[in-house]
């Protein structure tokens, strides 16, 4: 999986590309989790090009959301790919996140 970050003064965005599974969890935690801080407590995660997520990947997103909530922030999931949308719906995890679509809300 490719992890690309855009750190702007007003917004922090992470773009993920590829399979997000247990093999990628360590890299995700190492790169993405430090981006959530008390000063920058809202993080956008672009999932448009994620082909697959497994339960470990979901737990990483949940862990990230908990970290953001702890500093009064949140993780915003942007442009869910179909596989991601389906798994979030099946597991009832979708309501835990704010989900945005760039067709209506520009990144």
């Amino acid at each position: 999986m490719i992890i690309r970050t855009e750190l702007e003064p007003s917004r922090r965005i992470v773009h993920l590309v590829g399979r997000f599974d247990a093999h990628e969890a360590k890299a995700f935690r190492g790169v993405v989790h430090p981006l959530v801080t008390a000063e920058a407590n809202v993080l956008h995660v672009d999932l448009a090009q994620v082909a697959f997520v497994d339960s470990t990947a979901l737990s990483e997103l949940v862990r990230l959301q908990k970290a953001a909530r702890a500093v009064d922030g949140e993780v915003v999931l942007v442009d869910l790919s179909d596989p991601v949308r389906v798994i979030l719906e099946i597991t009832e995890l979708a309501p835990l996140f704010t989900i945005e679509h760039t067709s209506t809300e520009a990144l």
């Binding site: 599974d21 247990a22 697959f52 497994d54 339960s55 470990t56 979901l58 737990s59 949940v62 862990r63 908990k66 389906v86 099946i90 597991t91 009832e92 995890l93 309501p95 835990l96």
Partner: protein
Amino acid sequence: MTSSRQASQVNHPERTDAARPLSADAAIELLLTAASCDRLSPPRSTVAAHRAAAVVRGAIRDLESLQAALTEALVASQDRLLAMKTIAKVDFQGVASDEAIGLLLGRALALTDASAVLLLQADTVVDAAGDASAVEVCAEVARQAIAQGPGELLRTVAGDSAIVGSLDVDITTGWHVAYFRPTDRPFVTTDIPLVEAINSALGVLLAFNETHRREQVAATVAREHELASVLAQSVITDAPPTSATLDIFARTEPASLAGGDFYVFGQTNEAIWFAVGDVAGKGLPAAILMTRAVTTCRATFLSHRGRSVIDAYAQLEDELFDHLDDAGLFVTLVMGFVCEGSGTVSLVNAGHSPVVHVHDGIASAVPASLPPTGIVRHRVPALSTFTLRGDDCLVMGSDGLVEQADPAEAMFGYDRFDALCQRTHALPASRIGDSVFDAVAEFAAGTPASDDSTLVVVKHRGTAS
């Protein structure tokens, strides 16, 4: 012209039976003498001849210096080669051992003709060979030398009667070797190649030792990991409960030694409780939490004979939530019970999939009504209730089945899973289960499973006779 040629012939050295010069310098002197004796040569030619002689002498001196340097390099190279051959011939009797280090120190003592050789790690003497009574004094000399030149590979100290070397292999950082001789027999330049060769061999040996030690630690951890995995998996190897009216199939296949998938049953007076779950994550941490989930489920089943699935789930969540929250993990879980008499199923689904109810030949998913356990506390789940009649069945799998990839990286998928349940629902539970595992294996076509695979199938045979 004639008289000139005659004069030249008369004064030619080879024509005068003069002694053959013994050196280049003597030959030049002879030439200069001959040039000065030639009456036909003008004085200016004699001066030029002296200048030429000086140039030739300079060139000869340069050549002699070069020859000396080459000889010295050749000798040093041969010394180094001999030292390496000597070291290579040492029988270490099993490389990775402290005995091998001691053996090499002893050989270093003999090869360098030293009175003592010390191996130090940081400031501590780890091993020594030679004069035992001098170890402490020698060690202090070595420590001072290391402190004064911490970045140097070799230091000659104590009037050249000691050499203190640092081993430069990465894994042996902080290791030093010190060689000592009596002050009347100091080390000389030609000893250096041998010392370097011994230091190099010691460095390699220490690196082997360290690598061996790490491998032993890793092997110990692997053995303990394997044992822990076997113990973790043992909590779910129970066969499904037997019932006169219920036909139950259950199987779990971890993708590795330890997995996070589980199923668990509890039999009360007229009902069989069940739970099928998947702890997010991989390996031993997930397996350890899985064992906790299984034991909590069993305790919950025993304490909820009153058949309140929602209360049972609330108790389960209370027991597990903090552990899951601390670990940053969650459990997808479907739990409930089925009445042995009526075949009525009551269940709650906390983010688990696939859960399929085949009714009248039509498969439909039993959706989750709340997120997986361990994420949000005190959500009240919705209860799903239905009755198994005829060929109806309840199929509860894990994501390892539907997410199994084929060689082209396509997923088995939920649609294929539902269709398979629908196609096989009239079979006994065990044959439905086998069909699912077989179909997934066939689809995988050798592609390794990336996640655990778990399946529980429940059917109702009708009223017991």
